[in-house]
């Protein structure tokens, strides 16, 4: 049998059962015929919200019969031939009850051409070609931003997506100074990322991708500005129903601080930072704990340290790790620091955050090198909680 656009006539009929929409068959009790030139005849029976499709020579009993050649039939069903033109031009005819036949339009989901594969280039073309149709204007009020994509490798290219005055446009270059630029060493990784095959964290961590400019715009705004990209190949695979049960497991807890952590938290209320000091080895613990695990002795001596200190370790976190106790999502990026408080030495450090606008200015101390000097910024209303210290800031 002949193929048109990679599809055989019988593919259309064989997929009817799969594409059938019972809601489109309500109250229908009828028989339709299809007579496709040089291909054969098919009979479609609709009854009790079910269909039956069979290849047969006997189309008797049909209320209407469609006649077309194979190319036109496949073209109309796959969207390659305009149905109205084909009908007006006489390439499609309907014998019998024309109005009844019109109801077949609601009986089936659209037939989607099964593409065998798409290259990275095909995907990139499709992804950027669908940007404008996927644009959600309702999310763009007051927005004036440009998103640049610098994708390397043999199939790569450059694109910029502009959003201004509620209009979205795409160019195949990078122009001016984009609000944010996303860079991938290999465009294939970008395609895989969009298709959900790799996650951004492992790409970033592996040095395969990076971003410049307003990262928050890319991380938080981009996903709401556009409908999610749909893989054209994914639509062809008959979807198996995936049974999903969504459950949230919650259990209220009452955690005791015990006397040692209790003293530390009470100290924060009074703008004091307490460590405890091992009576044997002299090391300090922040926050304090019941014992020195190295010496296996109780540690009862509480010592006030700081409140200033120097940065010993630091990182910058780009993903919005939610606070498990409140569910609040942190602003990204944020800077985690371990502060070597005045009065402590070595690795006797207290972890906390650095003021958001000072992330880039912080220097980590290492051996003889001094880290940036920092001081705590206290919350006005303190309740004995680690957020009584809002964050640390540079002590200038």
């Amino acid at each position: 049998m002949a193929e048109y656009w990679g599809v055989k006539v019988e593919d259309i009929f064989n997929s009817m059962q799969e594409r059938f929409r019972p809601e489109g068959a309500k109250d229908l009790d009828t028989v339709f015929g299809y007579d496709i030139k040089d291909e054969g005849k098919w009979k479609l029976t609709v009854k009790d919200n079910k269909i039956k499709i069979e290849k047969t020579d006997d189309l008797s009993g049909s209320v209407a019969t469609m006649q077309a050649d194979g190319e036109t039939f496949v073209g109309v069903n796959t969207g390659n031939v305009d149905a109205t033109n084909a009908f007006m031009g006489g390439k499609v005819k309907v014998e019998g009850d024309m109005a009844a036949f019109g109801k077949t339009g609601k009986l089936f989901r659209k037939f989607v051409i099964a593409q065998k594969e798409m290259t990275t280039k095909d995907y990139l073309a499709d992804m950027f070609a669908t940007i404008v149709p996927r644009f959600k204007v309702s999310e763009a009020a007051g927005l004036d931003a440009s998103f640049a994509f610098d994708l390397g490798g043999p199939d790569g290219g450059k694109w910029t997506v502009f959003i201004k005055d509620n209009v979205c446009t795409v160019t195949a270059t990078i122009e001016g100074k984009p609000t944010v630029t996303l860079e991938f060493n290999d465009a294939k990784d970008y395609v895989d990322f969009i298709l959900g095959k790799i996650d951004s964290q492992s790409l970033m961590a592996g040095g395969k991708a990076g971003a410049k400019g307003d990262l928050n715009m890319m991380a938080s705004k981009w996903p709401v500005l556009f409908e999610k990209y749909k893989d054209p190949l994914a639509g062809n695979v008959p979807q198996q129903e995936l049974i999903v049960l969504k459950k949230t497991i919650g259990l209220n807890e009452k955690f005791s601080t015990g006397p040692i952590m209790g003293k530390f938290l009470k100290g924060l209320k009074e703008k004091k930072i307490y460590a405890n000091k091992c009576p044997q080895c002299g090391r300090m613990q922040l926050p304090p704990r019941e014992v020195c695990a190295d010496c296996r002795v109780r540690v009862n001596e509480i010592v006030e340290v700081g409140p200033k200190g120097e940065v010993r370790y630091m990182d910058i976190v780009y993903y919005a790790m939610p606070d498990p106790l409140t569910g609040a999502v942190r602003d990204t990026p944020y800077g985690g620091i371990n502060v070597l408080m005045d009065g402590c030495k070595g690795n006797e450090t207290l972890p906390h955050f650095i003021r958001k606008d000072q992330i880039e200015k912080i220097q980590m101390g290492w051996n003889e090198k001094k880290g940036t000097r920092v001081r705590p910024v206290w919350e006005e209303n303190r309740i004995g909680d680690i957020w009584d210290i809002k964050y640390f800031e540079i002590d200038e």
């Binding site: 049960l245 459950k247 497991i249 259990l251 209220n252 807890e253 009452k254 955690f255 005791s256 601080t257 015990g258 006397p259 952590m261 704990r289 019941e290 014992v291 695990a293 190295d294 296996r296 109780r298």
Partner: protein, 381 residues
């Protein structure tokens, strides 16, 4: 008879309804220090403790890998530490495997559970069931135990009055145990009037929420004199896992406990538990389990639990002189609590509840709803 493992020393914090002022780390620390003090054991990598077995539960502690929160207060830094998340009694079985294989000479065995921390132990045990079917049905250890209770009580002619008798006796016995949870003494009528939780289980039939922690020092036979003059021996251990899905099993059957005790008895050379063993500590999470487990370990005849109570079986066989699980121990630590009572009895330290001349004792523990997993150890003076 095979080789045996020594219990050199035990330590515990008193069972309590709520240690609101302590973290579970604080609860463990006193036990740890007591073991060090009693035995003078060290952490020398040649001669001392190289490995620590702990027992705790992620859901009760509300933290992943719950043992990580307590390694410092049990001396576990810079050496082996492994957690038993199932019933604590299996920690003794695990320690025994390490010691009798010659892999370790000395093992510190610590456990904790702060049941008062979570809002609802029933919600916690609900999470023990599969998410697709049993969990949505609301299964938890109480209502599943109730299914078993009805089936067992029917089979063994155990009545509401029998259960009342068990609860009254448990609380009376616990008054003689300085480490037992402080509970109000009740009479049989109060138990019979106690509200139904899941018919036939009443509120007073079910062990109360309890916080507890313990420690034990375990050792091989060759080196026991270094740590104690009066060891108690573990001579047999057996366990058995029953079918998981509730619909698969005969709920009135003691299949899994029969198997576990048979294996433990064989290893310990016990021919007739009624004659050879003087003390029994059974994990009665709910009152009906006392006669049921008594049948399972072979001191009551099968299907005769009710008559066994009427005939004075509980006192005749010295069952749960500590007050038992029913008086209050954390769910997953019942087995360690049972073994600890056997230790006191066999070393002559049981005070007012001492059984004179006790030579052998049995500690039994169950995990899961309707006694799914069972384990038994035999101990000797």
């Amino acid at each position: 008879m095979g080789k045996r493992m020594a219990i050199c020393a035990v330590a515990q914090i008193k069972n309590d309804a709520e240690y609101w002022h302590l973290r579970f780390q604080n609860m463990l620390l006193g036990c740890f220090e007591s073991i060090m003090e009693q035995t003078k054991v060290t952490f020398d990598m040649e001669k001392g403790i190289r490995n620590i077995i702990t027992c705790s539960d992620d859901l009760f502690d509300a933290r992943t890998i719950s043992d990580n929160g307590i390694t410092d207060v049990v001396g576990a830094h810079f050496r082996g530490e492994e957690k038993m998340a199932q019933e604590s009694i299996n920690g003794l079985g695990y320690a025994m495997a390490s010691i009798l294989s010659g892999h370790d000479d000395v093992i510190l065995f610590m456990g904790h559970c702060k049941e008062s921390q979570g809002e609802s132990r029933r919600m916690i045990s609900n999470l023990a069931y599969d998410p697709f079917y049993s969990r949505p049905l609301g299964m938890d250890y109480h209502n599943v135990d109730a299914l078993q209770a009805r089936a067992y009580m029917e089979k063994s002619k155990v009545t509401d009055e029998h259960l009342a008798k068990i609860v009254v006796r448990s609380r009376q016995n616990a008054k003689k145990n300085p480490y037992a949870r402080e509970n109000k003494l009740v009479n049989e009528q109060e138990v019979l009037n106690s509200p139904m939780y899941a018919d036939p289980l009443r509120e007073l039939h079910i062990y109360p929420v309890t916080d507890w922690a313990y420690g034990m020092l375990l050792c091989c036979e060759d080196r026991v004199q270094e740590f104690t003059k009066k060891p108690v021996w573990v001579t047999g251990y057996g366990s058995c896992m029953d079918r998981y899905f509730l619909g698969d099993k005969d709920l009135a059957s003691n299949f899994s406990l029969n198997n576990a005790s048979k294996r433990a008895y064989e290893k310990a050379g016990i021919k007739d538990p009624k004659k050879d063993i003087q003390v029994f500590e059974l994990s009665d999470h709910a009152a009906y389990q006392l006669p049921m487990w008594a049948e399972g370990v072979g001191i009551a005849d099968e299907g005769k639990g009710g008559k066994w109570i009427d005939d004075g079986g509980m006192d005749k066989f010295n069952v749960n002189l500590s007050g038992g699980q029913l008086n209050g121990n954390p769910l997953l630590l019942g087995g360690a609590a049972r073994a600890m009572e056997c230790y006191y009895q066999l070393s002559g330290q049981a005070g007012d509840r001492q059984v004179k001349g006790a030579k052998r004792a049995v500690a039994q523990a169950a995990t899961g709803g309707a006694g799914q997993h069972q384990a038994v150890i035999v101990m000797e003076a």
